[in-house]
């Protein structure tokens, strides 16, 4: 515990961005984890006496048009949004590493073929690609994870590939190869550990974008289906209320959404800064 405090103190002084980023995300993680203890209502529980009621003592942040408690839904949504973003980015990283390693290590025809394939994927703006794949797969959390993983994987593949390419030509890789070690083992033991630095910097930023994509798709009705609590679909459901001045249905989930992405953004920014200082 004391050691943790020391690390936190040093980070606070030397790397404020990383410190605040980690703090925000830890806060979200804990609130999401403890959601049942922090809320009086379930995320899809309907209060038949309060439809679209303004914040008061029974519903601290009001209810939506279906009589569901905004605060509870916003808190429960943390689970969905964090889960989808972290899992999908992890899958994207894994796919990217596999493709990048194969492409960068073996080179030649395999490399060219894989890169042309990525070209096609990357010639679509990411959101259009996400929209199309989401339309193919249909709504649902698992499908969203797949969509966001597919959309983000090509960038990691390229990143890993270029790193691997610069490592493959090093002497120690040649000597490993000459001493008869298998390709897979060379990749895992000698090349991979040295090629992951840029991935570590980009991944947190990417988790923020993943939530943006998720919320955007849900906002358009192609993401997490209602009544499941998710920030984007909550904003979508509340979007018609703003013209009549009803703010709580869309402002509350939106603030939670922006603050969460902000946490990922400054964490990524902090990592980049650390890299520049080196």
């Amino acid at each position: 515990m004391h050691k943790l405090y020391q690390v936190a103190k040093r980070t606070f002084h030397e790397e404020k961005l990383v410190f605040f980023g980690v703090s925000i995300l830890t806060f979200y993680f804990l609130v999401g984890l403890l959601a049942p203890l922090l809320t009086h209502f379930g995320p899809t529980e309907i209060d038949f006496e309060h439809f679209l009621s303004a914040p008061d003592s029974s519903h601290l942040l009001g209810t939506d048009g279906n009589g569901m408690d905004i605060l509870s839904r916003t808190i429960y949504a943390i689970r969905v949004d964090l889960l989808v973003s972290v899992v999908s980015v992890s899958i994207a990283v894994a796919i990217g590493i596999i493709i990048g390693c194969i492409s960068g290590y073996f080179g030649g025809t395999i490399d060219t073929a894989l890169m042309r394939l990525l070209d096609i994927f990357q010639s679509f703006p990411t959101f259009i690609l996400a929209l199309s794949i989401a339309a193919i797969l249909g709504p649902g959390i698992l499908n969203l994870i797949i969509v966001i993983a597919i959309v983000n994987a090509p960038a990691y593949a390229r990143l890993v590939r270029s790193e691997v390419k610069s490592i493959v030509i090093q002497g120690y890789v040649d000597s490993a190869r000459l001493s008869g070690i298998k390709h897979v083992k060379i990749l895992i033991a000698h090349i991979l550990p040295n090629s992951l630095l840029p991935v570590r910097i980009i991944a947190p930023l990417n988790c923020g974008w993943a939530i943006l994509t998720l919320a955007g798709l849900s906002f358009l009705g192609l993401g997490v289906p209602i009544p499941e609590a998710e920030w984007g679909s909550m904003i979508g459901a509340g979007s018609n209320d703003v013209v009549s001045g009803v703010w709580w249905t869309s402002v509350v989930p939106g603030v939670a959404l922006v603050a969460c992405i902000f946490g990922f953004t400054i964490l990524g920014e902090g990592f980049q800064e650390r890299q520049r200082k080196k």
Partner: protein
């Protein structure tokens, strides 16, 4: 490149579950009706025959007819695309001005209060979903203050403008139509503000980073040491060298906006390209989806071409 995109899209739309015939006829249609319509649309033929027909038509400049409306998709695109292009280009133009000014200010006052404030705004802008930003602006400017028109469409009802370019705001200037100019300007204000806020962030970041590099460079220090100061220093040394990364960045942002404009359009009921494409996608309107992807890919290429040209003007060392 374009060939790969076209082929990929063609195959992609055909593996979409759900078919256009089903969405057109509705759930109560008879099996015979479905078979007839499928045959009439040519969708009963093998995929490779459909693909060959599609490619041959493409070379004749025929992009097909919308399955839903029966009108040629090019005609539909021509009616709605200018409005979207206008929104994106005006926003990009404003964002470039704002971004360059704030980015330079931030770099020149590094680590001072204004720099910190600008950087914080940039980080918030990076984290801001455009659709939520739009809703907040509607809430403030329409819901509470009531100083802008309701977020529905591009002109107030009853106001028309002679169609020259299809871009209402530009047309109203070209025809000196004052009422239409004010009306479309008021409708344009919030969506443009939304986009400007979101896309200024990467521009400010990029300008700030390259300006800091210039400030630390030998030539800049030498110029400053020779007593060059004030505007001449900023204009001749700082701005010109800081702008080099801007054309490519603008092209990337343009492509990004074209892809996600549907979010802003949905919030403001803009009735443009994004909403048209989304409708085509959800109704499985194959020709609409194909033309959408081709349009996006085409404008992507054009944007990068323009960026390359501007880049070579800014930086004479580059040849294209």
């Amino acid at each position: 490149m374009l060939v790969g995109v076209v082929t990929f899209t063609f195959l992609l739309v055909r593996i979409l579950p759900g078919d256009p015939v089903g969405t057109l006829l509705g759930p109560n249609s008879s099996a015979q009706d479905r078979i007839d319509l499928t045959a009439r649309l040519g969708l009963d033929r093998p995929i490779y025959v459909q693909f060959l027909n599609f490619v041959v038509d493409l070379f004749h400049g025929d992009f097909g007819k919308s399955i839903q409306t029966g009108r040629p998709v090019v005609e539909e695109l021509g009616a709605i695309f200018p409005a979207t292009l206008e929104l994106i280009i005006i926003s990009l133009f404003l964002a470039l001005i704002v971004g360059v000014m704030l980015g330079l200010t931030s770099a020149l006052r590094e680590k001072k209060l204004s720099d910190r404030l600008i950087r914080l705004t940039t980080l918030v802008g990076n984290s801001m979903p455009e659709f939520w930003m739009g809703l907040i602006l509607i809430l403030i400017f329409y819901g509470w203050l009531g100083i802008v028109p309701a977020p529905s469409g591009r002109l107030d009802t009853g106001i028309t403008v002679t169609n020259i370019t299809g871009m209402e705001f530009v047309d109203s200037i070209l025809t000196f139509n004052k009422t239409a100019f004010i009306s479309s300007g008021r409708h344009l204000f919030l969506p443009a503000l939304t986009i400007v806020f979101v896309i200024s962030a990467p521009i400010i970041r990029s300008i700030r980073a390259s300006a800091l590099e210039v400030i630390a460079s030998d030539s800049y220090i030498a110029a400053k040491a020779h007593g060059l100061g004030g505007l001449a220093l900023i204009r001749k040394y700082l701005i010109r060298n800081s702008l080099i990364s801007l054309p490519t960045l603008s092209a990337i942002i343009f492509g990004f906006m074209l892809g996600s404009i549907v979010l802003v359009e949905t919030v403001f009921a803009w009735q443009g390209f994004g909403q048209w494409a989304l409708k085509g996608l959800s109704l499985r309107d194959y020709p609409v989806i194909q033309l959408t992807v081709m349009t996006v890919a085409f404008f992507y290429i054009i944007a990068f071409f323009i960026a390359d040209v501007v880049h070579s003007i800014l930086d004479p060392r580059i040849n294209i």
